[in-house]
Symmetry: none
């Protein structure tokens, strides 16, 4: 049969993308079959190839678009905020809210990097690096300004991002705690972590070790 009345390429493309996100989130990229995906959007599996070149490029499109969006929104959110503490709080809040709202995309971007081709992976890792730098630069600035006590800004960056991203592992909408409350709690942990006295201890520890 030819074109179903009212069907529409753009709509189908969007349906495929969304179903792709859902299925990869649920089963993993390797475990998702294109037959499944096609069934989800009411097509034959071969018809999907009107919308992407191959399974790999579907994954790449999803991940890259997500990473680009994450980076752009973060930069927009932080634009104009100069004070390190304010930037840190803004970053933390942004990261948490974004991750609670787009859990599937985030999950995929974190878990399926391994399934990307080398070239594709390099591009995605590059975007992630730029995102991480938003935090790392803030931490360094705050450390220099004396408002943060951080022995190793890079380590702290990884630690903080891991902690915040971890919310995807358990958060479910409609739970006991609101998104605002969670933002407060997590951000509190972050702020205390980079301002507390142990930061110095660790630094002292490190210098002693090098001596």
């Amino acid at each position: 049969m030819a074109r179903t009345i009212g069907s529409n390429g753009a709509r189908t493309a969007e349906a495929i993308r969304q179903a792709g996100v859902t299925l990869i989130y649920r089963h993993g990229y390797e475990a998702m079959s294109l037959r499944q995906l096609a069934a989800e959007v009411g097509l034959q599996s071969g018809s999907l190839y009107k919308y992407f070149d191959n399974k790999q490029s579907l994954l790449f499109d999803i991940v890259r678009e997500h990473m680009a969006d994450l980076l752009a929104k973060a930069e927009a959110d932080l634009a104009g905020i100069d004070d390190p503490m304010a930037r840190l709080k803004a970053f933390s809040a942004f990261h948490l809210r974004y991750h609670m709202q787009r859990m599937a995309h985030v999950f995929i971007a974190n878990m399926e990097i391994r399934s990307l081709d080398d070239d594709h992976r390099a591009m995605v890792v590059g975007l992630r690096r730029r995102y991480e730098n938003l935090l790392e630069d803030t931490l360094r600035a705050g450390a220099q300004a004396g408002v943060f006590r951080i022995a190793e800004p890079k380590v702290a960056t990884y630690a903080i991002i891991s902690m915040l991203t971890g919310i995807c592992m358990w958060y479910r909408p409609g739970g006991r705690l609101s998104q605002d409350q969670l933002v407060d709690i997590y951000t509190g942990l972050v702020v205390d972590g980079v301002t507390g006295p142990q930061g110095l201890t660790a630094a002292a520890e490190r210098h002693r070790a090098l001596a």
Copy 2:
């Protein structure tokens, strides 16, 4: 051909297990084929079935054994430590060291839970729950004793474990920082996070929201 002198089932079983961990870590459970695994240990793929029932049970064995080991070692490490702060530091140090030393197992246990059958997954999640409780109970005890300022012990548990586990995402042996230094740095972040003033702020925030 006769049995190679000195070869035996137990040794082969162990080789399969190790190769399985390596390959799943590298390629993911779905992407690893039993042909690959068999080649790695010098067998025909059909011969693997002397050592496990099916691919799924290989994964389950690896993950369950890892989780059981993690739990047992953690309990052993914390045994006899009553002071909440000491327990927290001990837990943090244990978790970090274990994760830096057995990165492949940890990675698999975190990433491939999705690939487990429902029953198998339930068992593994149960073990994980018991492990998390070691930390959660410590946090609650410390909060009640007034030494920690924690609004939501469960949330803090997830946050801390995510942060600490995140070390697997970037740590490589032989890097600039030693394991001891990393333990200091991460543990410093944890301790500051649960003792800092923001913990109260968050709690106040939460109560206000509920009012």
Copy 3:
């Protein structure tokens, strides 16, 4: 989009036919896809069906038209030549020149007969038979007139045509030898072959064998 100014069906049909010849020559009928063909002429593959009924009929059209053209031109070239030797030379020269000039068509007609439907193949083989008869009749006439020494005119027909057609396997325009020179060389081989003494030997051999 409106019709491109000056474009018209006949021109497109011809473009399709030419692209078809090129692609079938290059990749083979089975290996050529209609998508490729459509791309070559700047259409969507579905649009090709305005110009032919199906892939098979495209092949048939090309082959039949080629065979009809070959036959018609050969007949025209030989018209009015009665002397067997003159006819043989004329046939040889015609065949060689035609094959050097339309190598792609010739190649397709020879190689892709196998890909034709039974009915289509029968029609093409019929045309080819008529073409071969032009040579075979000449050989018989020459043999009867005593100018050729040929034991088996039918075999000689096949042999000569194979030899002459073989030029397509290696001839490339612009090579060391001109078309005229090649015509001389090949025609020399043909003429010597049907006038030399071995023709009788072979005939004697045959009669002895039957005795």
Copy 4:
């Protein structure tokens, strides 16, 4: 089901090879499906991959083995024959007999070179070149000795081989003419072709053109 009683890898491999030759001969390489081939030998299509790496390598194996065999047998047949005329007759007879007996292999080797990968094709063309040289060298030797009248040995080589190979296009076992008779007839054409007076004519023609 596991191994059928009495089944045997070597036997299956041979059955696959033979069925492959038959099917490629009948339908062409592109048109033959591995499902067809598997059905012919009573297997599932995936099982074929125990016996070759992929469809392409099946074709290559068949073609290369054929070319190697052709070359080896031809060299064996001509070994010890020094006289150019005797060598020419021996080559002609060998070529004809081989082609009448292994028509399918010959057909495939000639028709499906196009379907080979570039590297594979290069190897096969190399073998073919060596085979052609057996004839070309003989023609040159005979021309130098004054027993052949050949303007262009390379052209004559192609012409003769094409003529002889053409027997595959129509020969069917059990026809009116025996293989011996056909060898006589074709060889007579060849011998007359390279000894007749026209060979000189062509040479003269060529020199005139160059002048």
